[in-house]
Symmetry: C2
Subunit: 409 residues, 2 copies
Amino acid sequence: MKQSKLFTKTRRETPKDEIAKNAQLLIRAGFINKEMAGVYSYLPLGLKVLKKIENIIREEINAIGGQELLMSSLHPKENWEKTGRWDSLDVLYKVTDSLERENALGPTHEEIVVPLAKPFISSYRDLPFSVYHFQNKFRKEVRAKSGILRGREFIMKDLYSFHSTKEDFEEYYQKAKEAYINIFDRVGIGELTHIAFASGGSFSKYSHEFQTISSTGEDVIYICKKCSVAINKEIIDKQKECPECEGDDFEEKKSIEVGNIFDLKTKFSDPFGLEYKDIDGNRKPVLMGCYGIGLGRVLGTIVETLSDDKGIIWPKSVAPFRVHLLSLDQNQKSKEIYDDLIKKGIEVLFDDREGVSAGEKFKDSDLIGIPYRIIISEKSLKSGGVELKKRNEDKSDIIKIEEIISKID
Amino acid sequence: MKQSKLFTKTRRETPKDEIAKNAQLLIRAGFINKEMAGVYSYLPLGLKVLKKIENIIREEINAIGGQELLMSSLHPKENWEKTGRWDSLDVLYKVTDSLERENALGPTHEEIVVPLAKPFISSYRDLPFSVYHFQNKFRKEVRAKSGILRGREFIMKDLYSFHSTKEDFEEYYQKAKEAYINIFDRVGIGELTHIAFASGGSFSKYSHEFQTISSTGEDVIYICKKCSVAINKEIIDKQKECPECEGDDFEEKKSIEVGNIFDLKTKFSDPFGLEYKDIDGNRKPVLMGCYGIGLGRVLGTIVETLSDDKGIIWPKSVAPFRVHLLSLDQNQKSKEIYDDLIKKGIEVLFDDREGVSAGEKFKDSDLIGIPYRIIISEKSLKSGGVELKKRNEDKSDIIKIEEIISKID
């Protein structure tokens, strides 16, 4: 894409009302727009990153058999009354329709997915299966000061699995855990992300959270010095010892919860009477698991953990473009290289803007954070080619034009 | 995909509370689930169709320079007060957040896109550009009896264009019109779809609607017998003559509005002070256009217009799968053919279900409506191959296995 055509521009100043680093950088670089506290729109650059994260998640969830669907945002009140959450869930947005009927705006989708699945489950032969979607969630958060880490509106991948036996559930839960590890690896925050034991709510002893170490995180985790397992604050306050190895020496770290996986048992099957007939014809409740990842939160966490004082440093897997091509004074030659890279299927942002200084182009490029920067100038061409610099390294090299492809893998 | 793994099943009975043909067929075939009146979830088969429609629209809108973004569903009340629509728009859902501030649930996005674009427009050099998104819309419809043709919640592609001059706007408006013609052609309803003159609201004399002839449509259009242009009811009631050729003999047809394009002039630029500096340094209001297509409505219109009494007949471009492979009694051979087609990149739904009669498989296949049906049975293999039948033709042929690829283009 030609930068001269991109309708957004970078901004020098940090938005006054924005204290979170992720939102400050993303707004300045033109990735998101703040509509109000906790509500953001994704601009073209931001949407490109969001879609790449979405696609990595989709591939990993498809690989464990997830069937993608798309559930509604408006939920009937009755469903939420059935589970007792209409009155108990503080964050539930409620709206009234034209016939004065009340609806919830989905903050999560158990109340929809269970009745949706019910007509398709009669026998144990119909199980197991799992379904997921990428859908907006709405939560009346009291605090919304963490940029896109905690939104009142945010896109989440939520996966729900349905099982006849505990063993089958547990096997799937393990698979989901591995898929999550793959996802966080692939989006570039694998090394910083720990599986942490968390409270399982009323039904299971533990659930698991995926926590990414970050100095700006709202959560605190305790990493067991003996076995390296992590534990969240709730658990350590309760039991003061490692659930894995019974060690009692921990390192405290701030972290961001980027995903969680949860054994629901029959918490939601029961109120909706979600049952199956086993091989002997006995009716039994379906066992369920749920597995969430907030896409904006992952995006924001990447920015929180992988930026420097000049701007964002995108991992290749989710970068809006692979190459940022900067034309300083050689637009014709740059145009040829741009066309050639596009032809070869490389995603390129081409800074072809005229009347913008080299210094400004470098600053913008650092801020936007594309992995490879190629600079074309009279000087570089005289030195025999183009200048190649990685966003996450300080040094740059002069390489021959025909070497570009082999250097940007 | 193996049908034995698909969690949805077809239903024989028509849902009692559903009077619209599109929703009846889509629910019976397992494409959608009704959550309540006007609110539907897309099941895996339905989502596949929706995504194909989305992708066709994306390609055509990208081709006219649209930049994709994703604007929020929660809108600040102030924005809607600025345009005077907070109190005047009946269909506006209003919600209250945790701090008792009121928000609108976006029924359309002018109130968001204009302030979003404003910081990026200062000079005529920043214009023109256009942005679009695929996003849920929420409208408190009083009537919601048309299945997915008129939802309280529905996904819409809305495109907004920004211009400095009337000529530039008009040029883009023509391009958008052509993109729309391409879109409706590509999704398979081009022949049934007419461009109709409609009321332009308070600012322009005419806007244009894309109306698809359908006996179950809620709209009525009048096709001029002299010049073939269509006119909507509002216009014909007002002027009784064709705006194109002044003819006065019309054919009345019921139709479904599948898209519209609209000259906004400065209707939304004015309240937000969206201005640019022209070449002489004078501040002028930005001219805008908006261009909408409801994705669910397009999907529903395809079902309304292209089904028969056995079920849906999907056009190839949007079908959930290209081939429905029915294994009657030869699962091993079928599996080989399935694997081979998948390897060749063909989208196949493989009816590998055991204990389901041939008759049931045929009925399900007719209902689901995939363009090509390949039947593999002992009988067909004895006759030298497999049986190939198109969903929209009655006859079937025995073809050799190695001919399959060449016959399903």
